[in-house]
Symmetry: none
Subunit: 197 residues, 4 copies
């Protein structure tokens, strides 16, 4: 509580710098939901609304549409990295976390398909390959060879393939399909769940 303790009625919520971080998180969470419901092209105004902040706040934190998507992706990628960095991590474990994000986040799937839509140099795409590379690096470290995939390139291709299979209205359905896809590839996947310490 580094704020002035004085209660202030009027003036709609300006809780000081602490709120900034909170707002940012709320925006990312809102964006994730909106993306899941309406796809990556959803109106930014809706994201701000769901986050419970004004449009201006969104633009304070993210200069443009791409930045919002990137922030969402960043979180997904970071979790995969953390899963990969955790002690005792195995390829199948990391793939489980990766698969979780694949089934849970529309934006994350979009990441793997960014360059397909063609044209518009969104800046989403700009970052996309960098993020994609971070995922690749996370997986690379755990490649052991007990499967049909030849190397990191094959593995990332497989990830893209699985993401192609991840369709369906509910997360459960998407998970079912993702696991079926990994099975077709002959790859063992651990528990499908978010990374949590």
């Amino acid at each position: 509580m580094t704020q002035h303790p004085t209660a202030e009625e009027r003036r709609p919520a300006n809780d000081g710098p602490k709120a900034a971080a909170r707002n940012r998180a709320a925006l990312i969470a809102a964006a994730r939901e909106i993306y899941a419901e309406h796809g990556l092209g959803a109106p930014l105004s809706g994201i701000a609304r769901r986050a419970g902040v004004g449009q201006g706040v969104l633009y304070r934190h993210f200069p443009d549409r791409a930045a919002v998507a990137n922030a969402v992706l960043e979180e997904n990628v970071r979790e995969v990295e953390q899963a990969a960095a955790a002690s005792g991590a195995t390829l199948s474990g990391v793939l489980g976390v990766l698969t979780w994000h694949l089934t849970e986040s529309a934006a994350f799937i979009g990441l793997l398909h960014a360059d397909r839509t063609g044209g518009r140099a969104d800046g989403v795409h700009a970052h996309a390959s960098a993020l994609s590379e971070r995922v690749a690096r996370s997986l690379r470290g755990h490649l052991t060879g007990g499967h049909r995939l030849g190397g990191s390139d094959d593995l990332m291709l497989a990830v893209a393939m699985v993401s192609g299979a991840v369709t369906g209205p509910t997360r459960e359905e998407r998970e079912r399909r993702a696991l079926a896809a990994w099975r077709l590839l002959g790859v063992k996947v651990g528990a499908v769940r978010p990374f949590a310490g």
Copy 2:
């Protein structure tokens, strides 16, 4: 009450009803190109412009955005069906044609991913499953078992997976990746080319 008093001077070209079929084809061809360049969400006005017709013509032939996409997809699916129906057709041959369309047509890939974007029940999606089923039927007839795929469902899952792998700026690159994907799945694919009698 709302009237439309139009201009009175110029009135370029009206080749008569004969042009109707030609225009429809031009619109589909234009849509295919535009979709490849800008994705399925591209402005309809651009399609009309590229087809060299007024916007009204587009709306005459296709009541809405979904109808345009469906018309494009319809062509792709029909070629696959024709390839499947041709005498001497083999699964790998049909898959070659299918793969061609996968690498050539953004809309066709979208077909396999229609339900991922979430939200908007476009009517694209409405037809999508019907079209998807037609593809499945075309492939089903040639399932022989000389591979790891268990049945029609596995096969369609595999198609979705390959479509997930089909990214990249050029068709050649996309073909390279598609073939790599089929290889990972252990499925033999014939010549990647459009069906031609």
Copy 3:
């Protein structure tokens, strides 16, 4: 997918939230004028232009065409209600105010004729009967019987009849005809003027 990359140069005036109320009032005033000149079906863009605001502002304040008309009507009805509620109000006095609005506001006349145009259930019509009932209620309280009208229903019919007589290019002409109409009905009408305290 559809994006709106706007221009980057000019960005005229943004007087801040303070302007909101002012803009709303300006829009209603503009709508009243436009309606008088071009009827209820006039382009909304013209209203925004005359109000000196962007089209977006109009849509912010009024979700659709009906809402604009309703806002205009609301003002008219409110004045009649106020005239009816004023101390010392008499039927003829209220009718004078009502007649003023009849001669001044095309939208207000439209209110009484809403259901004639047939077809389109505008939502204008939805509110219309509610507003119409408010007018009826305002008059009802002052029915005294010193005339040929039997009751509230007759009175509202009479109002509709007078509104039918209110034609002509200038307000003065319309007032002349309105008064002649009331005379034919044998109803005494007070000063034809807006309500002002």
Copy 4:
């Protein structure tokens, strides 16, 4: 059946000049219906469609939107004139026919309100006053004085007033209101029905 009895299969209906008159009548009838359902601003294309002819035919017979409306009005006015010219015609009888058209034809009501909408010099309005004058003339001849209306002007004002009262979704409801309006004016009206010789 004054047509050539030769059956002709192909060539979409061009039954010779005789068809022209039939088409014209069909267009007017269609316009009357469409006007009743969707108001005077309804799309011309709908009128042509309902008449079962191409758009071009409509334009052959009527140079513009106004001409269509005028043709519809013309029919209404002519019936009133015929009723007035019939031997043994009385004012109340003519008013009965007039009232029929008032309750049956949206366009005809519009005639009496043409100048209210303001602005747009439709050409509907151009003819409107001429037609209106023809109605006045028809009534004038039968003015006898057994009522409160002072003269032709009063009578036309009364007609306008009644037309203002003619609202409601069904013709029956509109007739009910029209008769109530005439009653308020103390004018006796004969049978409400179209003129038929």
